[in-house]
């Protein structure tokens, strides 16, 4: 349900399916384990295969933003569809400069 690929200093997480509270715990574990061990400069969360997300996904992104800040790296969120983007806009995440 998630693919994580390393390319030089970038770790790309290809998220798949619905992102809700149930999915987030597992996603957090998998992403944090890879980021902690590999310490990439950039962590990319790719939403191109995500059809649904509720505000749990905002918590997931905010948590990874904090984690990458602690590791001295940065977070990028890419390929977000319009419905999911409405949830992100409500959260004010755009002000963090992670949305592309």
């Amino acid at each position: 349900m998630v693919e994580i690929e390393r390319d030089n200093d970038t770790l790309t997480v290809k998220l798949k399916g619905d992102i809700d509270h149930h999915r987030c715990a597992d996603l957090r574990r998998k992403i944090d384990a890879r980021a902690d061990s590999e310490r990439p400069k950039t962590l990319i969360l790719d939403f191109s295969c995500v059809q649904f997300m509720d505000s749990s996904g905002v918590g997931l992104v905010m948590g990874r933003y904090r984690q990458m800040s602690l590791l001295g790296g940065r977070l990028k969120v890419i390929n977000v569809n319009d419905n999911i983007n409405r949830v992100f806009r409500l959260s004010g995440l755009e002000s963090l400069g992670v949305m592309e």
Partner: protein, 149 residues
């Protein structure tokens, strides 16, 4: 305003049921021929309400979540999500954006999302008795050939 269709759903407050709950309600709403955006709004609002029951009302200890959904002859969907959990001592505070008691990975946006994505949201709660969230949304009817593809 008359009720033309109604459904009731009771299920365990387990996180694996979040997708089941939103899928069941969105399937019920399909008879109103909603747009994809309207359906997405309803799914998101239901997911938020159900997650609140699991995380906050029952504190991951389990319980039963009750959903009642009604369709009116004016094309409105009225959804009630009810629990018999701990209740909310201060509903006004709980509905403030970014307020959460669910830990740092909870965004505190549940009610803000419900209010933004639905036309009307009402919360009634009693401490140690439970909470009922009632959400309403008008489904804009138009000819299929006028719908955005």
């Amino acid at each position: 305003m008359n009720i033309v269709n109604e459904m009731n759903l009771n299920f365990e407050a387990k996180s694996i049921n979040e997708s089941f709950a939103r899928s069941a309600v969105s399937s019920f709403v399909l008879s109103l021929d909603p747009t994809i955006a309207e359906l997405s709004d309803i799914k998101t609002a239901v997911s938020e309400a159900v997650t609140n029951c699991i995380v906050h009302a029952y504190g991951y200890q389990g319980g039963t979540i009750y959903i009642n959904a009604r369709i009116t002859d004016t094309g409105r969907i009225i959804i009630k999500v009810r629990d018999k959990g701990c209740g909310i001592p201060d509903v006004k505070q709980a509905m403030e954006p970014l307020y959460t008691t669910g830990g740092e990975e909870r965004a505190g946006l549940g009610f803000a999302v419900m209010q933004s994505f639905m036309d009307r949201v009402q919360v009634r709660s009693a401490v140690l008795k439970g909470t009922t969230v009632t959400m309403e949304k008008a489904i804009i009817r138009c000819a299929k050939n006028e719908r955005p593809q």
